[in-house]
């Protein structure tokens, strides 16, 4: 079975990219994560993750238009690749399997 290496933060970034579909670029991904998860995301961590994801082939990037509010810098849009989709699917699947393996008692206790 093929393995997908996906760190926790990488997974979040990958998910955010997928959510944003076609509109994912640095700032929008950051916003997305921050609003959805309510946690502060540093530019450094996010860009590192994006670079790694791209290296792994989970996302691909394309240069977008330059924007006035960015002082003329172009946006780089990210898009999830088929491999990326498999990777998150695998991540989800493996989590689900593990979820299902948890004895009910544990969850109930936690629920109390």
């Amino acid at each position: 079975m093929k393995k997908y290496y996906l760190g926790e933060f990488e997974e979040i970034v990958l998910l955010a990219t997928a959510i944003l579909h076609k509109k994912a670029y640095g700032v929008s991904i950051k916003d997305e994560i921050e609003t959805r998860l309510g946690r502060e995301v540093s530019m450094g961590a996010m860009h590192t993750a994006l670079i790694r994801l791209e290296d792994k082939g989970y996302i691909r990037s394309s240069n977008g238009e330059a924007a006035e509010e960015r002082a003329g810098r172009p946006r780089k849009y990210y898009e999830i690749t088929a491999l990326g989709k498999k990777a998150i699917a695998y991540a989800k699947d493996s989590r689900d399997k593990m979820w299902q393996a948890i004895p009910r008692i544990v969850l109930e206790l936690q629920g109390v």
Partner: protein
């Protein structure tokens, strides 16, 4: 107004960030900063911005240390090489012509470089060699200074005593033809020198055995070379062994063994005999007479001495110290030892020297050959560009910038040049032994791999790859994609330049052919010039240790063989340098006018002049019927008579050496010395026994038997020497060995240059033929004959050749005229070398291009014009 994030941190970010991702991350940073500016104070936004920048400072975002583009470039280089080899494969013939031309050119240059390097290395191995000088002398003869390398013992002594600047003086007296005996070994040695005890101190010839400070002190000591030690003593220790020199007689004890003198020394001796021994074997005159030039004076000057200043005081020194010499008749001058091999070419050199002219000539030829080879490369590559214009266009369309294309073409040029250099090294390695034999050198193969030469090769590789690759690269990369894709336009680009290059090749080739023709002509002239005698069938025999009293009976016994027609004797080797000369007074001649003049003296017997068939133009030869001839008769040559200004010489007197002589005959000027020297005014004196050489006129019947008879007779008179002989005409030719070598080398390199140029021309015509294949096809369809079409192709080259001749002729004439004037007796340059050169070059061009042209013309037009 837009507020900006802190500049310093933005710059910091730009500095560390990997440029590939910098742009959009910076965009993100600014976008967020802008947003924050609206929500909070500038200060707060700034701080957050700074935090962002600092947090971005992490691996993955920081630019790689070694240029971020490494990967891409490598791929590009790989591609350059791949394309290079594909092109090489696709156009094997062109590439082969290119590489072989360059390789041969390189090999020539390498060989010439090795030769020059060796010539320049002479005597460099001595410590403080730049402080060592040779003091040479010159005599005023016929209004000109005649310089000689040698000097008198006494002169040396006086110089040493008068000049405090002289740290050391060594007197060297070379010797040869001496029989050394040790045990049962009896060998006649040639490389001998009598030297002073500080010889080993001044010169750097390390001893393997013995003490250099003492080895030459005291009489009867000898230092021998290692190879000599091996010859006599095999493996046993040579120190203390005693040689017997029965000629003197004398014994010499071996006191040291030195390393063999290196090939690049301007003298080579196997035996150094201590000078203290000299007094046992020679008369006092050698040490006291300032006119007895037996020694070579080498001095080592104290540091900081200006030799020019010293030289300036020599005239005074001569006038006050040197007995009968005056500064008007004799001068002394200093030669830096390091310059002797190349620059000194004066009388009585210890060994034949090199020549700076030759070095210049060869350097120029080397450069010419290299130019031709480079031109070939440039020409073929640019010409081939047509085929590659589509490739260039495609590359450009796909985004290749000009530097990328330059890189491509320069890589090709580098690969080709590197291959050529490697092949050249192999060629040099293989032919070096032959070259050594040819050039009379002992260059070891190892020297090719010495770091300086390797570095030199590398540098020239780069330079040549750049120069020959640059023009094609620039030209090819300048194609406009649109034109080159459409396949027009570029064909004519650089045509003028290419023609110029071919013209240059032709000029050089024609110039070299003219040069070698004239060099050959001069050599041939010297070899074959009538000397004024008949040197055919004259055998010359050195008398060596013959008892001079028995010369009469020796002659009689020789003459018992009917094949020996005449036997004459002389004290000088003919051809050779006449060593004796004298001042004189003479009848009807103002003594004051003749004070600076002198004449050479040759001692001969009754039969010398008839033997060599010199012409008596006035008076008579020495004759047995005139007993007075043995005492007071002389014969002059025409130059001597002319110097004296006499109308009718016979019967007039001349006085020299305290004796008065009467002229009995005048002989027509003939060349006793080589053609490098003007025929000197010469006095032929009669002698009965002070001879060193016998000259035998023989007939052509059974020469081996005659020579056997001579040998047989000789060995009855001379028991301790080997018989040797030579034919006079061969000796005459042998004087011009240097010219012969020069001619050979010149011709050989000319030939190579022409071959390389031919390769280039062939490559170019092939290309032209290909380019014009459609034109040829159409012309043929319209009725052109094969001749017409071939001519069309060749015409261009013939025109260029004509132009080249026009340029090459005057240039070649200028330099050759300079060269030929350095000879005293020279041939005329004439018109024929020029005509020959142009015709020969024309022939070569027509042959090389003709084949290809006819081949192109024979192609069926269907094949060439079928496809558009």
């Amino acid at each position: 107004m837009r507020s900006l994030p802190p500049r310093a941190f933005l710059n910091f970010f730009r500095w560390y960030c990997n440029p590939r991702i910098a742009d959009h991350i910076e965009g993100d940073l600014i976008e967020i900063y802008e947003r924050r500016r609206k929500a909070m104070t500038k200060r707060k936004a700034d701080l957050k911005f700074i935090a962002d920048v600092l947090l971005l400072f992490r691996p993955g975002i920081i630019r790689p240390v070694h240029g971020f583009q490494n990967k891409t470039k490598f791929g590009m280089y790989k591609n350059y090489f791949k394309i290079t080899f594909r092109i090489f494969n696709r156009e094997k013939m062109y590439s082969l012509i290119n590489i072989s031309g360059l390789a041969v050119g390189f090999a020539c240059c390498l060989l010439i470089y090795l030769f020059i390097n060796d010539e320049l290395s002479y005597d460099r191995f001595h410590h403080d060699g730049e402080r060592i000088y040779r003091i040479a002398g010159a005599y005023m003869r016929q209004g000109q200074w005649e310089p000689y390398g040698s000097n008198a013992w006494r002169t040396g002594e006086l110089i040493k005593n008068n000049y405090a600047e002289i740290e050391e003086m060594v007197r060297i007296m070379p010797d040869n033809n001496t029989l050394f005996e040790y045990g049962d070994k009896k060998i006649v040695e040639e490389r001998i020198a009598w030297v002073e005890d500080n010889f080993l101190k001044v010169f750097n010839f390390p001893l393997v055995k013995g003490n250099p400070a003492k080895a030459l002190k005291g009489p009867n000591k000898v230092v021998i070379s290692e190879s000599t030690a091996a010859r006599y003593f095999d493996t046993s220790s040579p120190i203390g062994k005693v040689f017997i020199l029965s000629d003197y007689p004398l014994t010499l004890e071996v006191s040291g063994v030195m390393k063999d003198m290196p090939a690049n020394s301007h003298f080579h001796f196997d035996f150094l005999i201590s000078n203290a021994t000299l007094r046992q074997v020679t008369g006092e005159g050698l040490f006291t007479n300032v006119g007895w030039d037996s020694q070579y004076l080498y001095v080592k000057l104290a540091p900081g001495t200006d030799p020019a200043k010293m030289e300036a005081t020599f005239p005074d020194f001569i006038n006050t110290n040197l007995d009968f010499w005056k500064s008007t008749t004799f001068k002394l001058f200093m030669q830096p030892m390091l310059s002797i091999h190349l620059e000194s070419n004066i009388g009585r050199e210890i060994e034949p020297n090199g020549s700076l002219t030759r070095i210049y000539t060869f350097s120029v030829i080397a450069i010419f050959i290299l130019i031709i080879a480079c031109v070939n490369y440039m020409n073929l590559t640019t010409a081939r560009s047509l085929r590659r214009s589509k490739e260039v266009g495609m590359r450009k369309v796909l985004g290749a910038k000009r530097p990328d294309l330059l890189g491509q073409f320069l890589t090709e040029s580098f690969v080709m040049t590197t291959m050529a250099v490697l092949i050249a090294i192999v060629i040099t390695f293989l032919v070096l032994p032959d070259f050594n034999q040819f050039a009379g050198k002992e260059i070891s193969r190892n020297i090719i791999f010495n770091p300086t030469i390797m570095l030199g090769l590398l540098v020239s590789l780069v330079v040549i790859a750049l120069t020959s690759g640059f023009y094609p690269a620039v030209m090819l990369s300048s194609f406009r994609p649109l034109n080159s894709m459409k396949g027009n336009g570029s064909g004519r680009t650089g045509l003028v330049f290419r023609k110029g290059l071919v013209l240059l090749q032709f000029v050089i080739s024609i110039g070299l052919i003219i040069g070698s023709t004239v060099v050959f002509k001069q050599w041939d002239f010297m070899k074959n010039k009538s000397l004024g005698i008949n040197e055919d069938m004259v055998v010359s025999v050195p008398l060596q240790t013959i008892d001079r009293e028995k010369i009469g009976s020796f002659t009689n016994e020789l003459l018992t063989n009917k094949s020996i027609q005449k036997v004459g004797f002389s004290n000088m080797r003919m051809p050779g340098w006449i060593g004796n000369s004298t001042g004189y007074t003479a009848e009807d001649v103002d003594a004051d006018q003749e004070v600076n003049k002198s004449m050479k003296i040759i001692r001969i017997d009754y039969d010398f002049i008839p033997t060599v068939e010199a012409q008596i133009v006035d008076g008579r030869n020495f004759s047995r019927e005139h007993p007075v001839d043995t005492i007071s008769s002389i014969i002059l040559n025409e130059s001597a008579v002319a110097q004296l200004g006499w109308k009718d010489a016979v019967g007039k007197w001349m006085q020299f050496g305290n004796n008065r002589y009467y002229v009995v005959g005048v002989v027509r000027d003939f060349h006793f010395e080589s053609l490098h020297r003007k025929i000197p005014p010469t006095i032929f004196m009669f002698s009965t026994r002070s001879f060193n050489f016998a000259y035998l006129k023989i007939d052509e019947q059974n020469i081996p038997a005659t020579l056997a008879h001579v040998k047989d007779t000789y060995s009855r008179f001379v028991t301790n020497r080997e018989f040797s002989y030579s034919f006079l005409h061969q000796d005459v030719e042998r004087q011009y060995v240097a010219e012969a070598k020069f001619t050979q080398v010149f011709t050989m390199f000319t030939l190579l240059a022409i071959i390389i140029a031919c390769l280039g021309t062939f490559g170019l015509i092939s290309f032209t033929a290909e380019r014009k294949s459609k034109e040829i096809g159409i012309r043929k369809v319209l009725g052109a004959s094969i001749g017409n079409v071939s001519f069309l192709l060749i015409r261009e080259f013939v025109v260029l050749l004509a132009f080249a001749s026009v340029i090459a002729w005057p240039v070649a004439w200028y330099f050759l005229n300079e060269w030929i004037q350095t000879f005293i007796y020279s041939t005329t340059i004439g018109i024929e070398p020029f005509v020959v050169a142009t015709l020969l070059a024309g022939l070569i061009v027509v042959i090389t291009t003709g084949f290809r042209a006819v081949k192109a013309a024979l192609v069926n037009p269907i094949h060439s014009i079928r496809n558009e």
